[in-house]
Amino acid sequence: MNRAALLWRMASFAIAAGFVALWQLIANLNLVSPVFLPGPDRAWTALVRGFSSGDLWSKLAGTLEHMAYGWLAASIAGIAIGAIIGSSRMMRTYVAPSLEFLRPLPVSAIIPVAIAMLGLTQAMALFVIAFGAIWPIMLATIHGFAAVEPRLYEVARSLQMSRLAVIFKIALPSASPDILAGMRLSLTVALILSVVCEILAGLDGLGHWVLLSARAFRSADLFAGVILLGVTGYVTSVAMSLAEHRLLAWQAAQR
């Protein structure tokens, strides 16, 4: 069973390698102008050069920093606000519909407003990223808190648990699958908005790097940046999966 899976995996890697070879072939034959499409060899060289000179490290660190701060702020605020709204029937009746109304708003539309208020600054970027990333987390938390099994609240009452204990021992763990799913969605949102803000405000990061490379028609550097952004997206989502797997081990037992 495991052996077969491994073989499939290897075959799948071989196919991916085939695509890279095809890309190399197209580039070598100059089927597409090298101004637009560098071969994987040149992209790789640019990647190595960027890292050895330290340029890409600092850009990567910049993007990760924007993403992490915005996302963490969104997570803390989103869970706190979501918990308050989700655990009160009155708040759910009066506040939740407004939030549902705002949900389909393309969050990037808030960027000009943020620029008008905060200028082209780090603070603007953090505000935009946090604002964009808070929605999935907050809405998931509201849903998770509202969906706590009522029987568990009765158990808590008959144990005379304090309000704080009920939140931390009953409601939060019960809502944790929803909250973590929301945090996973937000991670993607945070990465995209980091890139957009870096492009717009010229903040140090991979978004700025790819834009400058494009402006200067340095396509190899541009591809190196895009590949790095892909890796960032992949690694953060894998890390999130591992965390979810860890924290929700009890759910795996349920299935």
């Binding site: 568990l152 009765e154 009452r157 008959s158 144990l159 005379q160 204990a165 763990p173 037992a253």
Partner: protein, 267 residues
């Protein structure tokens, strides 16, 4: 009917009731669920409540637990008026799957009650182990509820309730969802646990034989609105035995009486 309960209170030499209902009426959503219910349960007594579905037997139990407040009348515990649930009263819910924390192991679920009681964490571990052994779940401490059978989950819920060291144990059709063999085993275990702890028990069931087998006294409720329709003392020797008790002439007589009562209420 109400006078039957009153009579129990005034018999000289009988201890004061631990749980008592005084002319309790409960209305929910404009409907009268329970009307003018009076009854007293002596300390250490095993009271079973039966009735057709919709007769308010579960509601009565929730009133005793303090989860509902009566619209009029009083529910007392140890002579004090119940205004909210208290830790000396433990309730075993029928739907064990919903009443356990799925994210905590068996040990963690028992621990919840100990944490609520403020037991220092150093002492908890030994106590948890002891409780799990008491309910027949030694060696399952690390399992999640979802990894356990229905019978095991209900044992776990009972362990959590015992962790409260309750003076009164309320049980709401605890074995209703279990198969017959598991149910009989658990009936005997509950009897011996209760005998050991001396707790007062109010046990709601729709199974007439279960009520007679377990109880010192059986109360049958009439539906719409719920009120007492029959009250029988069970004078069967203890310890009870699944075979001989159920063949006892007194058992058969009581069963006939309750059966006729239920049949009459359904018409």
């Amino acid at each position: 009917m109400a006078s039957a309960a009153k009579r129990l209170d005034v018999v000289p030499g009988t201890p004061a009731p631990q749980v008592s209902f005084e002319a309790v009426t409960l209305q929910l959503g404009g409907k009268t669920i329970i009307e003018n219910l009076s009854l007293g349960v002596r300390p250490g007594e095993f009271l079973c409540i039966i009735g057709a579905s919709g007769c308010g037997k579960t509601t009565a139990l929730r009133l005793a637990a303090g989860l509902y407040q009566p619209t009029s009348g009083k529910v007392n515990f140890d002579g004090q008026r119940m205004r909210e649930p208290r830790r000396e009263i433990a309730i075993v819910f029928q739907d064990y799957g919903k009443a356990l924390l799925p994210w905590r192991t068996a040990a963690g679920n028992v621990s919840l009650a100990l944490e609520a009681g403020g037991m220092p964490s150093a002492e908890r571990l030994a106590r948890i182990e002891e409780l799990l052994r008491t309910v027949g779940l030694p060696g399952h401490a690390g399992k999640y509820p979802s990894e356990m059978s229905g019978g095991m989950q209900q044992r776990l819920q009972i362990a959590r309730c015992l962790a409260q060291e309750p003076k009164t144990l309320l049980m709401d059709e605890p074995f209703g969802a279990l198969d017959a063999m598991t149910r009989q085993g658990l009936q005997d275990e509950v009897l011996s646990l209760v005998a050991a702890s001396g707790a007062t028990v109010i046990f709601v069931t729709h199974d007439l034989e279960e009520a007679i087998y377990l109880g010192d006294r059986v109360i049958g409720l009439l539906p719409h609105p719920g009120r007492i329709g029959i009250e029988l003392a069970v004078n069967l020797p203890r310890p009870r035995d699944q075979l001989s008790t159920r063949e006892h002439p007194e058992f058969l007589r009581l069963r006939r009486q309750l059966f006729d009562f239920i049949k009459a209420t359904e018409q």
